[in-house]
């Protein structure tokens, strides 16, 4: 598919004031407001790898490439997407960046925004832009690329991304042992200083730890931990919410790892070394300050899924929206009402 064709579709919709829903693998429709009734603009045809040189630690791919394909190509050269974007089935790299949903490695290595070096974008007028670059350090111009990470397509259609990649660790091993919730945060805090820890979660009374590093070091860490081997798919199930298949209503709370209050009591899953708490089947989750909670999953279409913005910040969001998408035709209301 040609970028020009896609740009033409968007321009045409802007001219006619007809809103669009941007679709990659359509695996994260649950995230944000339901806009399934809108016309679809799909990036699935954009599935080419533009360039990849392992010694540069940089890959440039079209946004419609599936995570499966990108992960496979990197694995062949013993590298990986260090931010470990969750694959909800048919997820694309464009969707992973646009949604900003981060996996279990978040507190230890970062999120998609931390590895995004540049991108191509079609805005709500149908204009095509190139921002950022393919090198690891670049401060020329405003960092529009990172602004798009987590913007849920509300500012443009990402068509191509450059990402920093990292070497795959020589060895990786996940272990678990029983841990009382009362002792949990302290236990996690102790473990999280170890450079080999790349996953740290608690689920159904078990503390789960993933160690990554050289063969010899990981062996030592596993022995020191003195637990049992954990199921290999645990982190994938956690990241993709497979642990909550039967849950109708799911909140996640992002907070400081040692905060004993924000959603902690009610949480059935604790991830990110304590900094992300998942609360199932609670109607209204009050946390203080309110900025931290997100309603990830719900069975009815509610207006407010994401935490409210302060009024100066909401005004900046409006200004940016009007600049990039003056007719408000790209994923309208997906993130916030009127955005």
């Amino acid at each position: 598919m040609l970028i020009e064709e896609l740009a033409e579709v968007i321009k045409d919709h802007a001219d006619r004031n007809v809103p669009l829903r941007i679709e990659g693998g359509n695996s994260k429709a649950f995230y944000g407001r339901d806009i399934s009734h809108l016309d679809v603009v799909s990036i699935q045809g954009l599935n080419q790898v533009i360039s990849y040189e392992p010694s540069e630690l940089v890959i440039r791919v079209q946004a419609g490439c599936s995570l499966v394909d990108v992960n496979r190509i990197l694995a062949e050269k013993k590298q990986m997407l260090a931010f470990e974007p969750p694959d909800f089935g048919s997820s694309t790299i464009g969707g992973a960046i646009a949604s900003g949903i981060a996996g279990s490695r978040r507190p230890f290595v970062g999120a998609g925004r931390d590895f995004l070096l540049g991108l191509d974008l079609i805005d709500g007028r149908g204009d095509v832009f190139t921002f950022g670059g393919q090198v690891m350090k670049n401060v020329a111009g405003y960092d529009v690329s990172r602004l798009m990470a987590g913007a849920m397509g509300c500012l443009g259609v990402i068509t191509e991304v450059s990402l920093k990649v990292l070497p795959r660790p020589e060895s990786e091993s996940s272990v678990m042992r029983a841990c009382e919730k009362a002792d949990l945060l302290r236990e996690m805090n102790k473990l999280s200083v170890m450079p080999e820890v790349t996953g740290l979660a608690w689920w159904q009374g078990q503390l789960y730890v993933r160690f990554s590093g050289s063969d010899s070091t990981v062996k030592i860490r596993v022995l020191e931990f003195a637990g049992m081997s954990a199921p290999t798919n645990f982190w994938h199930d956690l990241d993709t919410m497979a642990l909550f298949t039967d849950t109708k209503r799911l909140w996640k709370v992002s907070t400081q790892s040692m905060d004993a209050i924000s959603g902690f009591d009610k949480a059935s899953l604790i991830d990110w070394g304590g900094a992300q708490r998942w609360v199932a089947d609670v109607d209204e989750l009050k946390v203080d300050p309110p900025a931290y909670r997100t309603l990830v999953k719900t069975d009815h279409n509610e207006a407010s899924r994401f935490a409210p913005l302060s009024s100066p910040v909401a005004a900046l969001h409006q200004n940016l929206k009007v600049t990039f998408d003056p007719k408000k035709i790209l994923n309208p209301n997906k993130m916030y009402e009127g955005l």
Partner: protein, 480 residues
């Protein structure tokens, strides 16, 4: 009716308007560019910053924020009709949260000041630009500063959790959160590297890292720059992720050695410094792989430093490279292009050719791990011809970086220095969007006007015609 300066004095307790004391602020680290500010304000509280901004906004007076003034691109060069807003009095570490490993600091705290404040707790702040003893965290945010450890630990944007900002209207707002995620667009990322064009930083929450248990620094000499460059690629593609990976060429090595006696070999063409960190078991494992790899790639004079004193000596030569070059030349002009690593050897060859053409020496210091070049062009500023030649030479290097798939600035920012090269790097659409984006935050355009993003007229006058997807830049404008 009160005059502007009277109103400014009411807004802020410390205002400088006499010429002699204003002159202190007329330049930053880019000393070739100077401009005397109309006023200097040194607020000491958030409410004073708000009052100054509200007043300037009301009167459409330009405001240029300044930290320590160590920036190398003229980003803090004052506006002749504006207020120079120094954040020097915002110099307190407000709070260190040991358990959550974060610190809240004011923007005028130095980069190293943060690490110093938490050293006894076994923590540190990772980004470490070479100017870290003087540069402030506020300035680091404005330029998204890197340093020698960013290959592994990221840039400023990857290590800051939240900011308190003052808008041009004087309104206080917060972006980011003390935790990892925050709602809405990633304004936190957008504000990094925005060169004081979008708002004033008044408080910063940084994340801190536990100090690594073990650190090893390895030094290796090479007979050719080519070999050193190939070795860098090999280290990365073999799966090692050094905490730092730096390269110096012969002139830089010799200048550094003469200055600080770091113990570098003098008869090599290029030097690599490679730092590994982590748990002692892991560093031992990595070191074994690295040494085997260096042996294979023909490195000479390989030395390993495990103790703090030797490591510091090895780094001292690299960190003192700029002042060391300052000793062998009356002036030097520091460039900041970034290129894909594979282009290293050929770009350095071309820089050598340019050096001959312009008749000016050049010493190369290089963040090899992430492709960030710092060629130091040697010249004598008292000779006008040399100054002009140095600027042309620098512009040629930046153009070369763009041609090879890189960028005009890796970490120093565009400021006023590289504003013309922005016309080469970006097309009309992108430049226009940058201006519109600034207007989202600063619709009157009072923050640091004229910096970072060139007007389309300026690009037309500069004559840079970047043909972007077949479209000629600025077709609406006359060519000069």
């Amino acid at each position: 009716m009160e005059s502007f300066v009277q109103q400014l004095r009411r807004a802020c307790g410390h205002v400088i308007d006499d010429k002699q004391r204003r002159q202190v602020y007329e330049t930053d680290g880019l000393t070739a560019k100077r401009s005397l500010p109309a006023f200097v304000a040194l607020p000491e509280s958030i409410s004073e910053v708000q009052a100054v901004m509200a007043l300037c906004h009301q009167n459409s007076i330009p405001v240029v924020a300044r930290g320590a003034g160590t920036g190398l691109s003229g980003g803090a060069m004052p506006h002749p009709e504006g207020v120079l807003l120094s954040l020097a009095k915002f110099n307190r570490v407000l709070d260190v949260d040991i358990e959550n490993r974060i610190a809240r600091v004011e923007p005028g705290v130095t980069n190293l000041g943060i690490s110093d404040a938490v050293r006894d707790l076994g923590l540190y702040y990772a980004p470490d630009p070479s100017s870290q003893i003087a540069c402030t965290i506020g300035g680091n945010i404005a330029e998204n500063s890197g340093g020698v450890h960013c290959l592994k630990y990221g840039l400023t944007v990857n290590n800051v959790r939240a900011l308190k900002m003052i808008s041009p209207e004087g309104e206080l707002y917060e972006v980011g959160a003390a935790g990892f995620d925050s709602p809405g667009f990633d304004l936190l990322a957008l504000l990094h590297g925005s060169e004081g064009m979008l708002g004033i930083v008044v408080e910063v929450t940084v994340q801190l890292l536990p100090k690594p248990e073990t650190v090893a620094v390895l030094l290796a000499g090479f007979d050719t720059v080519q070999k050193a460059g190939e070795t860098v690629a090999l280290i990365i593609s073999e799966g090692l992720l050094p905490a730092g990976l730096e390269m110096m060429d012969k002139l830089a090595i010799q200048a550094a050695e003469d200055f600080v006696h770091a113990g570098y070999p003098r008869d090599v063409e290029a030097l690599l410094l490679c730092e590994l960190d982590g748990s002692s078991e892991d560093v031992t494992a990595q070191l074994g792989r690295l040494q085997a790899l260096l042996e294979k790639s023909g490195a000479r004079d390989v030395q390993v430093a495990m103790d703090e004193a030797t490591r510091a000596a090895f780094w001292q030569g690299r960190k003192a490279a700029f002042p060391a070059v300052g000793r062998i030349s009356p002036d030097y002009y520091c460039m900041d292009g970034t290129i894909p690593k594979r282009e290293l050897a050929s770009v350095l060859t071309e820089i050598t050719a340019l050096s001959k053409r312009y008749g000016l020496g050049v010493a190369n210091v290089f963040h090899a791990g992430d492709g960030n070049l710092h060629p130091l062009i040697l010249y004598d500023a008292s000779d006008k011809k040399q100054l002009e030649a140095a600027e042309l030479f620098g512009a040629d290097i930046l153009t070369l970086c763009i041609e090879r798939g890189g960028t005009i600035t890796g970490e120093h920012g565009v400021g006023i220095e590289k504003i013309d090269q922005m016309c080469i790097q970006f097309g009309t659409l992108e430049l226009e969007r940058f201006h519109q984006l600034k207007a989202c935050f600063d619709h009157k355009g009072i923050l640091n006007p004229g910096k970072a993003v060139p007007t389309l007229n300026r690009c037309a006058e500069f004559g840079a015609m970047h043909v972007h997807r077949g479209q000629l830049n600025h077709p609406e404008l006359e060519r000069f």
